[in-house]
């Protein structure tokens, strides 16, 4: 199921993060006070205060040289313990992988998709277990062999130990990733069949915000629902005032593509691609598809320039090229006028496009990502290495989580814990989110049980008896727990960017482009958001415990 378009909102994300951090810190402090009271009596609060002061000092006084030493140690350890044997597995996979991948009679973009997905998935699922293993075993082994004793009896602070370990494992992962991704790139470029090479590109779409007008021309929050349960697309009725309105921001002339027509000078045009759904209420003219028309609008300047109508296409995108100089009939002066797309129409970088259906009583279905401006293509490497960056961020997050877990529990337990987080965060996160938002039908655990027992289907409301109301309240308790879990478990979907590249798109920086969930900036911030509390947690976990192996 496709997620709805949610703009990434930095401010609210930051606020939410602070809130969770604050609540977490308060709970931790409360426990600290209770425990210190049990241990030291009335002197307890002083002890807590001392730990906080010492902690702040340790974090402010971090020595890059010490952290560097520990990082280097970690890298050396990994190399001398032959952790890099993973390359062998990788190499073998690729030697034989190419034989089974695609049939050469597949469509070119499908072939590319298979190859690119294979490479990126292979890299991801080879590197994650390696760093998971390394990061979860490192510190527990260090404690068990007591080599950590010799380190912490030097002026090395415990946060430096944690940080050094984390950076070390990240460095090892980076080395592995760099080699693998370069190898993968070369392999791809050489292995993709000649006929499909042209599909190794990175399209750069620009998406706009979508608004609607109903058939009377009033503003609407949604398009018309034609009875589809899946509400992804809204519909516009033909030959009415119904419109779907896209607004694009920050456009510049550099967003135009160069178009070469036979026997002419190349010209720069704005390339718009669309793919709408036709919904016929009667057969109509079956020799052609439904007709749609885009109108460029600048409400402030009272400009509305209709473009040539086009037929919907069932396969592939319809490409509309907009000239920079636009000629239109001016109703007021009854003359033809010419204006400039960027100087006049979108002088502040904002361009509005209204789409309507021209066939009476027929409908056209549209969703936000169904129409986009396509900027000049980037080389394939751009998207490829950006999605490698996504894998890198994911790997770094695994290291952070693994090292943190390993300060609390022994290696195997830490591994299971981190692995569990990874599974929960990559496969069940969207389910978790739906559950928490209450968009899964049939209610909570007990309610569902009763429905099964009463043979009630999940759509029917339960009778508002006292029993049922109490049950609904009880069912909310685990939901609250789940909400907390869904906030704390990292969403690994945010880091998976291979889908963009596999489908021939560039990886966006600030905002995810539907139907996918990931973009670089949110992934970077996600990593940072977890790294800070994890570092703090791991520091106190190492500091407040005796480093004897038990």
């Amino acid at each position: 199921m496709l997620p709805e378009y949610v703009a990434f909102d930095l401010k609210s994300a930051a606020l939410q993060w602070l809130l969770i951090l604050g609540v977490g810190a308060s709970i931790a402090l409360l426990f600290a006070f209770i425990r210190s009271f049990a241990l030291y009596g009335t002197n307890g609060p002083n002890e807590v205060g001392r730990e906080i002061v010492e902690g702040s000092k340790d974090f402010l006084g971090i020595s890059p040289r010490r952290v560097g030493a520990l990082t280097m140690l970690t890298v050396r350890e990994a190399i001398r313990r032959k952790a890099l044997l993973v390359f062998v597995v990788f190499g073998i996979l690729f030697l034989f992988g190419g034989w089974f991948l695609t049939q050469s009679n597949d469509r070119p973009e499908l072939q590319v998709k298979v190859y690119v997905s294979f490479v990126l998935t292979a890299i991801q699922w080879l590197i994650l277990p390696v760093v998971l293993l390394l990061s979860c075993w490192g510190l527990p082994e260090d404690i068990k062999a007591r080599s950590l004793h010799t380190v912490v009896t030097k002026p090395a602070r415990r946060n430096e130990v944690v940080l050094g370990r984390m950076l070390g494992f990240i460095a090892v992962g980076t080395m592995v990733l760099v080699v693998m991704s370069l190898f993968g790139y070369v392999w791809l470029v050489r292995q993709v069949p000649e006929s499909a090479q042209s599909q190794l590109i990175c399209r750069v779409p620009v998406y706009g915000a979508l608004k609607w007008k109903d058939r009377e021309g009033n503003e609407a929050t949604k398009g018309i629902n034609t009875g589809d349960i899946w509400e992804f697309r809204g519909y516009v009725e033909g030959a009415t005032r119904g419109r779907a309105i896209w607004t694009f921001n920050n456009l510049t002339p550099a967003d135009m593509v160069e178009v070469q027509e036979a026997g002419k000078e190349p010209v720069e045009r704005l390339r718009v691609e669309s793919r709408f759904q036709a919904f016929r209420t009667y057969k109509g003219n079956m020799n052609r598809s439904l007709l749609a028309q885009i109108t460029l609008v600048n409400a402030a300047k009272k400009l509305a320039i209709p473009l040539k109508p086009f037929e919907l296409s069932e396969f592939g995108n319809v490409v509309t090229l907009i000239d920079r100089k636009l000629t239109y009939d001016d109703d007021a002066s009854k003359t033809k006028k010419t204006i400039d797309l960027f100087d006049d129409l979108a002088s502040d970088g904002t361009l509005t496009m209204e789409v309507r259906c021209l066939d009476a009583n027929q409908f056209i279905g549209m969703a936000q990502p169904d129409l986009f401006i396509r900027k000049p293509d980037l080389p394939f490497a751009s998207g490829y290495f950006k999605s490698i960056a996504g894998i890198w961020l994911m790997m770094a997050l695994i290291v952070v989580l693994g090292v943190t877990a390993s300060t609390f529990v022994k290696g195997p337990v830490a591994m299971i814990l981190t692995f569990f987080l990874l599974i929960l965060g990559s496969w069940f996160h969207s389910f978790l989110d739906q559950l928490v938002k209450g968009s899964v039908q049939g209610g909570g655990a007990i309610e569902s049980m009763i429905r099964i027992y009463d043979h009630k289907n999940p759509m029917v409301e339960l009778d508002p008896t006292a029993r049922n109301r109490i049950i609904k309240q009880i069912d909310k308790i685990p939901f609250f727990g789940l909400r907390v879990v869904s906030q704390i478990v990292p969403n690994f979907d945010r880091f998976t960017m291979s889908e963009y590249v596999a489908n021939g798109f560039d990886v966006p920086f600030t905002e995810p482009v539907p139907p996918y969930d990931s973009a670089l900036l949110p992934a970077i911030l996600s990593l940072a958001a977890f790294a800070f509390p994890c570092l703090l947690l791991a520091y106190y976990s190492l500091k407040l415990r005796e480093l004897e192996s038990k």
């Binding site: 030493a69 004793h149 010799t150």
Partner: protein, 301 residues
């Protein structure tokens, strides 16, 4: 009495607990000690008497169940005190995949030393502990004594004011342990403080100014080595190459003064006698402080 205690221990107790917080062992019971600047202090006791536990408590590796510790006037949990301390653990807990040079460089970095200083000290120390021939070999290939030596080198990398050595001579060959003792005396000459644990009583007797004997976590004896070992009513005369006639003559002289010759033999390691006596007595009469020494000054604190 020298002023300025480098280490102050007051009523220190340690109980090891298991995961569920149940008491397992009482490893140390109400220990009070002062160790002063510039002295070589020996911590003795049979296996499992709490020597290593004491060192680990001092270093902040373990947390005391009761009591207080002050090192250079700071609590044991303060990491900044480590700048002035060198520690040789019971077994050298080092990274076995590093070689000697890398090991010293690594620990030098932990003291935030610049590269030039690290290099210079590493060279000096490798020479000092006699590992020139093995400086590029990984520690996992080292013999026990070699591991001990590199362990000692890392403990001295920061030119510490206080050196804590947990059984420094274990695993060393006779030459090595002689060198170790010389080194300890040299450190003392440089005005450094040394705290060591050992089973080799002869070594302790040779180098220590003061000793403490622990038995099952309790302090049994504390005092200056020479005072503890001086037995007032025994006079020992040592000569060399004495003929049987001369011995007979001397016996005659002693008899004339109304004394009796107990025996003529070569002197034994007298600290060993003391040690065995203390351990024996402690076993017989548990809970009794065996011998009060003039050096105990901790009572008022």
């Amino acid at each position: 009495m020298p002023a300025e205690p480098v280490i102050q221990i007051r009523n220190l107790s340690k109980i090891y607990r298991d995961f569920w917080g149940r008491k397992k062992v009482r490893a140390l019971n109400s220990l009070s000690l002062d160790i002063h600047k510039g002295e070589v202090f020996g911590l003795l006791g049979p296996n499992g008497s709490g020597k290593t536990t004491t060192l680990k408590l001092l270093l902040g590796l373990l947390f005391p169940t009761e009591g207080e510790i002050s090192m250079f006037g700071k609590p044991a949990s303060d990491v900044s005190k480590n700048e002035r301390i060198g520690y040789l653990p019971e077994e050298s807990y080092l990274y076995r995949f590093l070689n000697a040079e890398e090991t010293l460089d690594f620990y030098g970095r932990l003291f935030d030393m610049p590269a030039a200083t690290r290099k210079e000290r590493a060279n000096k120390l490798i020479e000092l502990v006699g590992l020139q021939g093995a400086r590029r070999r990984q520690l996992k290939e080292y013999s026990k004594g070699m591991t001990r030596r590199i362990g000692l080198a890392q403990a001295l990398i920061n030119e510490p004011e206080l050196v804590m050595l947990d059984e420094p001579t274990s695993g060393l060959d006779p030459i090595g342990s002689r060198e170790m003792k010389d080194l300890i005396l040299k450190l003392k000459d440089q005005g450094k403080t040394v705290l060591m644990c050992s089973h080799f009583l002869a070594d302790v007797q040779d180098v220590c100014d003061r000793i403490a004997i622990l038995y099952q976590g309790e302090l049994k004896v504390l005092g200056k080595v020479d005072e503890l070992l001086k037995e007032q009513d025994i006079t020992q005369i040592r000569t060399s190459r004495l003929s049987p006639e001369a011995i007979r003559e001397i016996e005659g002289v002693i008899a004339r003064h109304g004394a009796k010759v107990d025996g003529v033999d070569h002197p034994t390691a007298s600290l060993e006698d003391l040690f065995l006596k203390v351990v024996h007595e402690s076993r017989e009469r548990p809970g009794r402080r065996f011998m009060d020494s003039p050096a105990v000054d901790a009572k008022g604190a």
